[in-house]
């Protein structure tokens, strides 16, 4: 049962007006008493209504209220009794924050779909959050290493995200250390604020991820991986997006060691290599030739990675590595000398790039 169901039950029972309200700290204290932390808070009658405390969020108490006008004292007693029992049942479910139960319900369903590899499953009608999943949203997947905070609560992360996304956010705890964040696309794209048309979606998502990563890293927990996928209408495409995000983080951990933000469109070739069975990969690696002297050399590996990242542009690679162009040419010549492959030609570059990926996925297990 959630708090909304509780409210509806009370309304049916009394036939009176009811509602849910989160009170401010001051109002909570004046209504339910100051310093009641840790003690069971009791319902109170105030301004013609019965106020039943449900849960306390950092001094802010969320209550369900029932209008009492026209009820006899016996009826008020019965309503009070029923409300208290409902509240106890609600608390017994482990419910702490509005939204968490609904989020966990969606999480269970998502996990089942993902286990069964139903990437195109549509969210069923009985999901409490379904009504919020019809607009374009940007999905982020956060996978925590939890080094500094072994216990991460839904509440603390949600609080941070709500501040950041101006309440336009859903947080779905998928696994113990895995969280799905859904942010409304309009908030991030700025809606009608299109002063810079040149910025494409990928750039925007990359920047948003950097900002979000910085925020969560510095304000919540330090070490975690973050992946983002293109905007999706969750009611239909959420399962597929989560599958993509999960795979992106797995690939990121293998192929982008030392990096924590992973973007699916930057890992396409990696996805292909990772889909090859391990025995086949090792066989392929053996057949391509001996690149071990180059790939086990940290400096050479970094040089090649940067060279490919810069689209085989010598000047840009030298700039990015902060080395002289001639130093880079010397290194590329050395690679040619040791492996026979000249990465300045497309064919050899493609083979070396694939070999590098195969090497990473087979050696870094």
């Amino acid at each position: 049962m959630d708090s909304e169901t509780l409210r509806q039950k009370l309304e049916q029972l009394t036939g009176k007006k009811t509602g849910l309200k989160q009170l401010g700290r001051q109002q909570s204290a004046s209504l339910f008493g100051v310093g009641t932390e840790g003690k069971e808070q009791q319902p109170v009658i105030s301004e013609g209504s019965l106020w039943v405390p449900l849960y306390d969020n950092d001094g802010r108490i969320t209550t369900v209220w029932v209008e009492l006008e026209g009820l006899s004292s016996r009826e008020v007693q019965l309503v009070n009794y029923a409300a208290q029992n409902f509240a106890v049942a609600l608390k017994a479910t482990g419910f702490r924050e509005e939204g968490e139960v609904e989020a966990r319900q969606l999480s269970s369903w998502l996990n089942v779909q993902l286990e069964q590899e139903k990437d195109d499953a549509e969210i069923p009608d009985d999901m409490a959050l379904k009504s919020r999943l019809f607009s374009d949203m940007i999905p982020f997947l956060l996978s925590s290493e939890n080094v500094h905070s072994p216990q991460v609560s839904y509440r603390s992360l949600m609080k941070l995200l709500r501040s950041y996304f101006e309440n336009e956010v859903l947080l779905i705890p998928l696994q113990e250390k895995e969280w799905l964040i859904l942010a409304r696309k309009e908030l991030l794209t700025g809606g009608d604020d299109k002063e810079d048309e040149e910025e494409n979606d990928d750039d925007l998502l990359a920047q948003t991820s950097m900002g979000l990563h910085e925020l969560i890293a510095s304000e919540w927990v330090g070490i975690f991986h973050l992946a983002v996928a293109p905007a999706v209408v969750p009611v239909k495409g959420l399962t597929g997006s989560v599958a993509l995000l999960r795979e992106t983080i797995i690939l990121g951990r293998i192929f982008q060691v030392g990096e924590y933000i992973h973007l699916p469109w930057e890992l396409r070739l990696e996805r292909l290599v990772n889909s090859i069975p391990d025995t086949r990969r090792r066989k392929l690696l053996g057949q391509i030739g001996d690149y071990s002297s180059v790939l086990s050399d940290k400096e050479m590996l970094l040089t090649l990675e940067t060279f490919f990242e810069m689209d085989c542009n010598v000047s840009e690679t030298a700039k990015k590595l902060y080395i002289h162009r001639n130093t880079l040419l010397y290194r590329l010549d050395k690679i040619k000398q040791e492996t026979g492959a000249d990465v300045r030609s497309f064919g050899d570059a493609a083979i070396v790039k694939l070999t590098m990926l195969l090497y990473k996925v087979t050696k870094r297990k």
Partner: protein, 373 residues
């Protein structure tokens, strides 16, 4: 404010054979401006990220002030970090970007407003407060990122290549501004860069890293004048130090350094050290900075035992100085930095002299500076 101490810090990624950062020991004093410098992949950013709590420490102890922070979350370390990528919040205005961290810490609105406006004034971005990051230039974005760090009033600033996305002119300008700002705020600052000019001009102390290991930690002057090994000698200075491989020999009681087309006398103090350490008759690398090769007649007259002659392949006149690219001496090109008014031309073979009091000798095997320690 606080100092930072790293004790035997290691970082090893799962599945990697070699540590990315190896046995780092550093004591960064309160209010010190320390620069970590080195080439790509040397472990400087990883070290900074471990200080920030954004990277797990595999081994060793990290202190901020007197507190061990290995298991302290970044938000509780009282640090502020500025990234190369700026990492601004794209949907928030400049004002909101700067205020957000304080808002989360429940600082009063008036206080937030005061701090944001003060920082904006210092950084000269008051007129940009209502803009979104995408409407800002690279330099302006970097100022906002700095502003976001400043308003938090942290014990330690951590900056990871904050200027490398800016063009050269702006970089020079921002370099001076950051130095001034950090001094003014009297905060400890740890700054990562690949750029030796940034390192030399900004740092109270510089840590040169290579291959995950600290090569030398010293003041800019000491690094330049007393490099501990070949890597540091070659990394600091532009144009880079000349390295000439040759042999040290005893000729009638005097120590001489001999290489192709070069035969120069080693002065007494240095001669005694190489003699005592058993390098006579051995092959060593002599390091000489371009400005320690002279062509002025007065110098040549005063240093008859260090004169050599070499072909000038190329000259580069930079106005205030001229670079001569010399061939035929030792095993490669030697660069001399002479007065901009020099009349030496390409293809000529002038007489030059080395200021042997300023040269260094490096062990060819260990690459360590023989004259130190």
């Amino acid at each position: 404010m606080a100092g930072v101490r790293l004790e035997h810090i290691f970082k090893k990624y799962p599945g990697s054979d070699k540590a990315t950062v190896e046995d780092i020991n550093l004591d960064i004093k309160d209010k010190e401006f320390l620069v970590l410098v080195g080439p790509s992949g040397c472990g400087k950013s990883t070290t900074l990220r471990m200080i920030a709590g954004l990277e797990e420490i595999s081994e060793g102890k990290m202190y901020i002030g007197d507190r061990v922070v290995n298991d302290v979350a970044p938000k509780d370390r009282d640090i502020a970090m500025v990234f190369q990528s700026y990492a601004l919040y794209p949907h928030m205005s400049v004002y909101q970007n700067m205020a957000f961290g304080l808002k989360l810490r429940k600082v009063k609105k008036e206080e937030i407003d005061k701090k944001v406006r003060e920082a904006a004034k210092i950084l000269d971005i008051e007129h940009l407060l209502e803009r979104k990051p995408k409407a800002l230039s690279g330099g302006q974005r970097q100022r906002v990122a700095l502003g976001r760090a400043i308003v938090r009033d942290p014990q330690v600033f951590l900056m990871d290549e904050p200027l490398s996305n800016l063009d050269a002119k702006l970089r020079g300008q921002m370099r001076a501004e950051i130095t001034k700002l950090v001094k003014r705020l009297e905060t400890t600052c740890i700054y990562v860069t690949h750029d030796q000019t940034e390192a030399m001009t900004m740092g109270d102390r510089i840590v040169v890293m290579y291959d995950g290991i600290i090569q030398q930690a010293a003041s800019p002057e000491e690094l330049y004048n007393q490099p501990q090994n070949l890597f540091v000698a070659g990394f600091i200075g532009s144009p880079t130090m000349n390295f000439i491989t040759g042999t040290l020999s005893d000729v009638n009681g005097a120590v001489r350094f001999r290489a192709d087309n070069l035969d120069v006398e080693v002065p007494g103090g240095k001669a005694q050290i190489v003699r005592n350490k058993g390098f006579i008759g051995k092959e060593v690398v002599m390091g000489v900075r371009p400005e320690d090769i002279h062509e002025e007649p007065v110098f040549l007259e005063a240093s008859p035992n260090t004169i050599f002659s070499s072909l000038v392949d190329v000259t580069e006149n930079l106005g205030h100085e001229m670079l001569l690219y010399l061939s035929g001496v030792g095993n490669g090109t030697v660069i001399a930095r002479v007065d901009g008014r020099s009349t030496t031309r390409e293809g000529s073979k002038p007489k030059l002299a080395i200021d042997m009091n300023k040269v260094h000798f490096f062990d060819k095997e260990s690459e360590k500076n023989i004259l130190l320690g």
